[in-house]
């Protein structure tokens, strides 16, 4: 059973791999648009990777209004 801490950590790892950046550059409270220099469409690209990893389906609207990894992890945790 994942805890919110492990879910957050796994998302950070996935984001690091997806956006080709080292894991230690990312922090749970980072604004991922700013840290990764990505736009909303690129952020959506991460969702499929997250779905595959956690074996869930995550509607696009779950990312709406979310700009930090911690909140994203909370949204995912509620579906695990």
């Amino acid at each position: 059973m994942n805890t919110i801490e492990t879910t957050t950590e796994e998302i950070l790892q996935l984001a690091a791999t997806h956006f080709k950046i080292t894991r230690d550059k990312l922090h749970p409270d980072d604004d991922f648009f700013k840290t990764l220099g990505i736009n909303s469409l690129q952020a959506l690209g991460l969702l499929t990777r997250i779905e595959q990893h956690f074996h869930i389906e995550l509607p696009d609207y779950e990312l709406q209004g979310v700009s930090d990894f911690r909140t994203l992890a909370e949204r995912i945790q509620s579906r695990l």
Partner: protein, 569 residues
């Protein structure tokens, strides 16, 4: 395509389409690798009429306002047709706005009916302002079993028995109220008539024809004028089909091209650039010999299609690329914001025509459209059929404000005669954009006269609308400007918002201001954020009612400071 001159309303035209092509597919709703629904025109009618009957029983009639707050999906279009059938006025709202913004627009529109997706409704109900909303009927789609809908009804169960009564409308009657901006302050509800839409369809059809079998991939939110035309009215009145995707991810969009043999897709510049980036990365990974061959083929295609598109030739030359786009793609339409010529050129070289256009909600979408005869990436094309444009007060280089006149120009802004009078002058729509018309009759856009930006996502952002996010800052006063309004620039790419901070008398701006502003910025969607700030030591000029005289303040700043004064956030 239907002869739209014969019809007085969208309800009548769409109804005729449903009868004209009963066995053709009009709508497909896909979700990831699944297909949720597929409708022929007959099935669409069978789905919509019982809904129209239930609307009738609930009192929806001529002029009743019905808001739709949904992602792109089949229930959007079915609900819209049912509203038009009953002579209602549709209020399409942006599901991406915050719940508070949605509440404000719902209240402003005075919509008596609301059709809303469950997850959007849930968020809406959490907003404090939702308590003051009182639509007579709220229909919630896809609510899970057992969900407490607090008086709202399930869309799926809201059906009436018996034939509904069709309510005819006149061409000058309002069809839709579409909000072009003003979420934070003064809502701009464009009242668009049936004539506006019917004329717009006829104006765009020569460049963008539909026929049974033609398919449009709908990815821009349908509340947006572009998708309402391209992803509803145009395909339906031409016998074509709309494809919706419930998960709008780059990989599913790519997959949909091949799976559904897409003919057209409208995009905003951001999506086009993403597509370009993805293709460039793929090309860079090719072995050197293949890369050189591709380069040579692109050069050949460019030379051969300069005067007009040759799809068969391009598909023969660059078969693999076209196969990846499904093999049936005729064109991508780009609009909603300014597109860089280099991006348009990239796709043109691949033989994928990009129809670059210019328009606004107030003009019911397109004002100009590039018909690619010849290819001109530097312009937004010529006025569409029935559209007149003029350049007001041109300077020595012929640059001035673009004004447009056509039967597609909106009736007025809802409940705002003052703003209407400023925007429509003697029948001409003042666009607030600066441009010039060249010898070939093409419009070139070169900047903005008004204090606003348009993002690559096609979002119009007015500084006044986001200032509330910065209230309570430790300054005497503050104000937000479009950087290009402070310092006019000949360009519309990479537009930024700048905060102007005036410190309290005798105090300095706190050292941690960047962190504080960053924290406020994060409350806003990423495309609405201020990108920098500057410190202004003088009092802001104010009106008698203590509003900031923005034009005067901008003039003062322009005289004293330049762009270097902006501290990036």
């Amino acid at each position: 395509m239907l002869d739209l001159r014969q019809f007085d309303s969208l309800g009548a035209a769409l109804g005729a389409a449903l009868d004209r092509w009963p066995d053709e597919i009009c709508l497909i709703e896909a979700d990831r690798d699944r297909e949720n629904a597929r409708f022929t025109y007959r099935q669409f009618k069978e789905a919509a009429l019982p809904l129209a009957r239930a609307f009738e029983d609930a009192g929806l009639g001529a002029g009743s306002r019905a808001a739709i707050l949904m992602t792109n999906q089949s229930k959007w279009l079915i609900s819209a047709y049912a509203v038009f059938f009953r002579g209602g006025v549709l209020v399409p709202l942006d599901y991406k706005l915050t719940a508070a913004e949605q509440c404000a627009l719902l209240a402003h529109s005075k919509a008596e009916f609301l059709v809303v997706e469950y997850h959007v409704w849930r968020a809406l109900m959490q907003a404090e302002d939702s308590k003051t909303l009182a639509p007579r009927v709220t229909l919630v789609t896809e609510a899970p079993p057992g969900a407490d809908l607090r008086g709202a009804q399930r869309w799926e169960e809201f059906r009436g028995a018996g034939e509904p009564t069709f309510v005819p409308r006149g061409r000058k009657d309002p069809a839709c109220i579409v909000y072009s901006s003003g979420t934070g302050g003064r809502p701009k509800g464009c009242v668009l008539t049936h004539e506006n839409y019917l004329e717009q369809c006829m104006a765009v059809a020569p460049v963008f024809p539909f026929w049974p079998g033609a398919r449009y991939l709908s990815i821009i939110p349908t509340n947006h004028a572009i998708d309402f035309m391209g992803g509803f009215l145009m395909p339906f009145t031409g016998g074509g089909a709309v494809v919706h995707l419930r998960a709008l991810r780059p990989e599913f969009i790519r997959d949909a091209f091949t799976r559904y043999k897409i003919t057209y897709m409208a995009v905003v510049p951001l999506i086009l650039k993403n597509l370009q980036q993805g293709l460039k990365e793929k090309f860079a990974a090719l072995p050197r010999s293949k890369r050189r061959l591709l380069g040579a083929l692109m050069t050949a295609n460019r030379a051969l299609t300069r005067r007009q598109p040759h799809l068969r030739l391009s598909r023969a030359l660059l078969g693999d690329i076209h196969k990846a786009f499904g093999g049936g793609l005729r064109a991508l339409l780009v609009g909603g914001a300014f597109t860089e010529p280099a991006t348009i050129e990239f796709f043109h070289d691949l033989g994928i025509p990009i129809y670059n256009g210019y328009g606004c909600t107030e003009a019911c979408t397109a004002i100009t459209l590039n018909d690619l005869k010849p290819f001109r990436p530097d312009t937004v094309g010529k006025p569409v059929r029935g559209m007149e444009i003029q350049i007001l007060a041109p300077d020595a280089e012929g640059v001035g404000e673009v004004a447009a006149r056509s039967k597609t120009v909106m009736s007025h802004y809802l409940d705002d005669p003052e703003m209407t009078a400023e925007t429509i002058v003697d029948g001409w729509l003042m666009t607030g954009d600066l441009g010039r018309v060249d010898a070939a009759g093409h419009l070139q856009l070169l900047g903005r006269k008004k204090n606003m930006i348009v993002t690559e996502e096609g979002k119009n952002i007015y500084p006044e609308d986001i200032e509330t996010a910065f209230e309570g800052l430790p300054v005497k006063e503050f104000c937000i400007f479009a950087a290009n309004y402070l310092w006019p620039a000949r360009g519309m790419v990479g537009e930024k918002l700048v905060l102007v901070l005036h410190p309290e008398p005798g105090k300095i701006i706190p050292a941690d201001i960047a962190a504080r502003l960053g924290e406020r910025n994060r409350r806003l969607p990423n495309y609405k954020r201020a990108s920098g700030y500057l410190v202004w030591e003088r009092d802001f000029p104010l009106t008698a009612s203590l509003k900031i005289k923005r034009g005067e303040l901008a003039g003062q700043i322009r005289q004293s400071l330049d762009r270097e004064a902006v501290v990036p956030l």
